[in-house]
Amino acid sequence: MEPRDQPNIAAILAGDTKAFSVLVDSYKNMVFTVALRMLEHREEAEEVAQDTFIKVFRSLSKFKGDAKLSTWIYRIAYNTCLDRLKKNKREEKNVAIEDIGTLNLKQMNDAVDLLERSERSLLIQKCMQQLSPKDAALLTLFYFEEKNLKELAVVLKMSESSVKVGLFRARSRLAKLLKQYMEPEML
């Protein structure tokens, strides 16, 4: 368990709402980002993020500390997003995986180096909108939170090997989309 979580949980369980607002402030950006990338709708992402924290508050007494608090919170967020997607009956997007050998990865990497920070951010947003919600969540959690495979497996309720395979596929799909968006003027 993360040492910073310990006092928060005890205070929240004792009914301290200020302590809970500290917890919300610590994780709201990540929860909102995951929700936004999975749902692609700001209002919906905000609702889901709120629901996530309400669920966290309700079940905090059941948190045993087997995993990191952040892992536990992201799992609730991920499941809440999946529930919302199921409710909305959105069609599953699927970008076909291209053999990465056909992509000029070195050249693409050089092109990314030349991009401004804001341009990269915009490019990621465009690509994320084309990826499936699961791929978007996987990449976001892996690269932003630097979660390891074991933690990702807990969040996504998958085996570590499935996470590894999923991560490779998500990266390949992202690279394919990246190529589409960057060509021809950049490459």
């Binding site: 709402t17 950006n29 924290f53 990465i100 050998g101 990865l105 990314v112 180096d113 990269r120 932003f144």
Partner: protein, 132 residues
């Protein structure tokens, strides 16, 4: 293998320029407000009067009725049941000798109304449907 490393490098490079999205202003306050509202609604109801009071009231009523029956001089035994042919005959006979003083009747009636009224008020006030 080399391609895989290149791919990892590319995606990592790309994400280095990315930043987290922020929820709208007042997000935390909204969540805390919702939780406070929820906490208020989830307060567990407790009756206005403690349970032992109702047990005591019940016992008092039973004692009162027993006293009234005894004072009115009704002798009751199992053999009585055999004497009377049917239950209706037995009840008719019982009511004949049941001389309830008028004041006790009023007391019993008023107590009954009070208990019923309080039960109705408590049920209505703490009905889960109304609370939610």
């Amino acid at each position: 293998m080399k391609d895989n490393k290149e791919l990892e490098k590319l995606v990592k490079n790309l994400f280095e320029g990315d930043q987290l999205d922020c929820p709208p202003l007042g997000f935390t306050e909204k969540v805390v407000q919702k939780i406070q509202e929820e906490s208020l609604h989830s307060l567990k109801p407790s009756p206005l009067l403690p349970k032992p009071f109702f047990y005591g009231l019940g016992l008092l009523l039973v004692a009162l009725i027993t006293l009234v029956i005894l004072e009115s001089g009704i002798a009751f035994s199992v053999s009585d049941l055999t004497q009377f042919g049917t239950a209706s005959e037995w009840l008719a006979n019982l009511s004949k000798g049941f001389a309830l003083p008028e004041v006790w009747g009023y007391i019993l009636f008023a107590t009954g109304i009070m208990v019923c009224a309080q039960a109705a008020i408590i049920t209505k006030r703490y009905s889960p449907k109304l609370v939610q």
